[in-house]
């Protein structure tokens, strides 16, 4: 009898799975969401989101040109970070800054060389457009670099050995070239998977309600758990498919190293994918119509995952309350796992603690979904 029950259940489940599979194959939109969207988004994010400044347009305002100012200009010219342009007066340079033609000004007053040679204070004045503060910080860092190397070179040309009291030696682990793409791409994968997971399922249950097929399903011996499983499994496979595509692109196209174990990656991705799919399913079950489900999925997935997952903005620097909110964003845990797995390796404390958090979410969501989906029209 028990065996009979199991085989009956399996038959129903297989029936649902086969049905979903046919629908997925015949409706290009889920295939598009699963396989085209990650590629498009990954390329867009991969190229569109970059914090690596290059060719920063900087204006060098030289009020009186001579060999000294020339050597400084040359230093900027040689740096890969700058694309200098020259002005003869600070007014011209400032106007260019206002018109957003340049991002910063290096201002050498007319008495610069004179003071320098006389051993007097000869400051270099820097004006930076601080609107994009992050970019301004980066620009400033680069300017300091150019300035320091020029200073050493200038001193040694005068026969003075310049001694900086404290020398900083920078060693960046996991991403020695400070290539922002290496950390952005894993984060982007987490954001994309959040969107795909919830989009895939947000519409599917709502669609059954709207098309009236739900009523027919309800009157069959199919239990609600079987129906949910029938919905989750195919979309889980699709979601994992898009995960593999994304990882493959990350490694082979964007050159992000995969230092951790591939299988650990598969495991944590599965966990996260289940959480995303359940969120979509929950939206779908609660809203029952595609209009509200679609709106909620947009509002609840993209921007929160983009801004609150720690993928771009450091969570430690957020106010405490907001940090509390980030604990509710599943992408937060996945971002940490992916960045670690890609760049650092199998760092178990990071992976396990985040996996645990995702497990808790999974259990809560599964309970929520099953309690919300009773076999009734009310």
């Amino acid at each position: 009898m028990a065996e009979n029950k199991t085989s009956a259940r399996n038959m129903r489940l297989m029936g649902m799975l086969r049905k979903e599979m046919w629908q997925i194959i015949r409706d290009p939109s889920s295939i598009a969401i699963a396989f085209v969207m990650p590629v498009v988004l990954l390329f867009m994010f991969g190229y569109g989101v970059s914090l690596d400044a290059k060719d920063i347009p900087v204006g060098i305002a030289v009020e009186q040109a001579d060999i000294v100012t020339q050597s400084l200009s040359d230093s900027f010219e040689q740096s890969e970070f700058f694309k200098p342009s020259y002005y003869h007066s600070i007014q011209q340079a400032q106007q260019a800054l206002e018109e957003r033609k340049i991002d910063g000004i290096v201002w050498l007053r007319s008495n610069f060389s004179q003071n320098l040679q006389a051993g007097k204070q000869a400051p270099i004045e820097i004006i930076i457009n601080g609107v994009d503060s992050n970019q301004a910080n980066i620009t400033m860092g680069y300017i300091q670099g150019v300035w320091q190397s020029w200073l050493i070179q200038f001193s040694s040309s005068r026969g003075i050995a310049l001694n900086l009291p404290v020398n900083l030696e920078q060693r960046v682990w996991f991403n020695s070239a400070l290539n922002s793409r290496l950390f952005l791409v894993p984060g982007v994968i987490a954001v994309i998977m959040t969107m795909i997971g919830s989009l895939l399922t947000a519409m599917v249950v709502a669609r059954e309600w709207e098309r009236g097929t739900m009523e027919a399903l309800m009157v069959t011996p199919l239990s609600m758990k079987e129906m949910l499983a029938g919905k989750l499994i195919p979309y889980f496979i699709l979601g994992m498919g898009s995960m593999f595509i994304s990882v493959a692109l990350a490694v082979w196209w964007f050159g992000v190293p995969l230092r951790g174990s591939f299988w650990v990656m598969v495991l944590v991705s599965s966990l996260f994918m289940m959480v995303s799919l359940l969120i979509g399913l929950l939206i779908s079950i609660i809203s029952k119509n595609q209009f509200v489900a679609g709106q909620t999925a947009i509002a609840a997935s993209f921007l929160p995952a983009f801004l609150l997952s720690g993928f771009l903005f450091d969570i430690n620097s957020m106010p405490t309350i907001i940090q509390g909110i980030t604990y509710l964003i599943p992408a937060r845990y996945f971002v940490a796992q992916l960045q670690t797995l890609f760049l650092a390796g199998n760092v178990w404390p990071v992976i396990l603690s985040n996996a645990f958090a995702l497990m808790v979410m999974l259990v809560v969501l599964a309970y929520w979904v099953s309690s919300k989906s009773r076999k009734t029209l009310e």
């Binding site: 939109s29 969207m37 498009v40 867009m44 190229y47 569109g48 970059s50 914090l51 290059k54 920063i56 320098l116 204070q121 400051p123 270099i124 004045e125 820097i126 004006i127 930076i128 601080g130 609107v131 994009d132 503060s133 992050n134 301004a136 910080n137 300091q144 200073l151 005068r158 003075i160 001694n163 009291p165 404290v166 900083l168 030696e169 060693r171 960046v172 682990w173 400070l178 922002s180 290496l182 519409m203 669609r207 595609q290 209009f291 509200v292 679609g294 709106q295 947009i298 993209f302 921007l303 801004l307 609150l308 720690g310 903005f313 450091d314 430690n316 620097s317 106010p319 670690t340 404390p349």
Partner: protein, 373 residues
Amino acid sequence: MNNQYFSQIFALALKEFLALFRDKRSRLILVFPPLLQILIFGFAATYDLDNVPIAIYNQDQGLVSREFISQFEGSETFEVIEYIKKDRDIAPLIDNKDVLLVLNIEPQFSDKLQQGKSAKVQVILDGRNSNTAMTAMNYIASMNLDFNQKWSAQHGATGPKVALEVRNWYNENLQSRWFILPGILGSLILVVILLVTALSVAREREAGTFDQLLVTPMNPTQILIGKAIPGIVIGLLESTLILIIIVKLFQIPIQGDIAALYLGLFLFLIAATGIGLVISAISLTQQQAVLGAFLFIVPAVVLSGFTTPIANMPDSVQLLTYINPLRYFLIILRGVFLEGNGFTLLFSQFWPMAIIGVVCLVFAGWLFRHRMY
């Protein structure tokens, strides 16, 4: 005749408002998420570092290293959570993300400095988020610069007296919130407008009421204007609300011409509404409309310069940003908020949005009658 023309448009716009706001769920979705999000994201989205956990590995016994370290202990940017004693303690701290960086001070640090030689401090950073790492490194570098200048002054330095004197225009304290909040405003409004407009025609198509609309004496232009008004009005009201929050709560002053800002906002809303209506008119079902809206919103936000500068993108991607109305609107927002710009400096941002808006609206109007199933 003319009166009738406008009263028909008015009736349609009124109907759109009623359809949006009589339903409780749709009313909630339009009003609360944007306000909640500006609060959460406004506080969350910052590149500024605050209380970043670090560890210090001081191998030196002398006094100077203490002085050096004290800078970090007093800093609000960093929080020293651990003083380590052994080399092999470094790796787990960084691996496990307990600290962002470790300062490693060499054994003879104090001695070397006192002898007038250069001393070395190694900064080991977690590069998993290289931007955070780099920002932290910049903070440390400038703290070190201060330390060096002070030390040199106290101990009679040699060499050229060339210092950098830095001024940051428009955002003197380099608060990244000043930069990001206007971007959040733009993104949120874009999402709201697309939600309002992208589903508006698709929904009527599914319900069958769109046919009825087309059979009335109203012409496509009237229908278009009537359908566009709710998006624009809701956008204006919600933007105003968010602007008030930004100015009052986040205390970011508006330096420039508020009229220029509103002209920009208006043109942006027209462009976004136009795009939303095109998506809606193309879509046969609501599902397609939702997907369409999504496929526009994500690239529009990413490629707008909202979080990362457009200048850093590859040239081909930069070209794409020219058809993104959010790009122009963000420049206007930041221009007026931070740079104190007025109409003249922003003129080059106004007309592209106007063109996008007009082209999209005309196309949407054409689609009303020609997209049939």
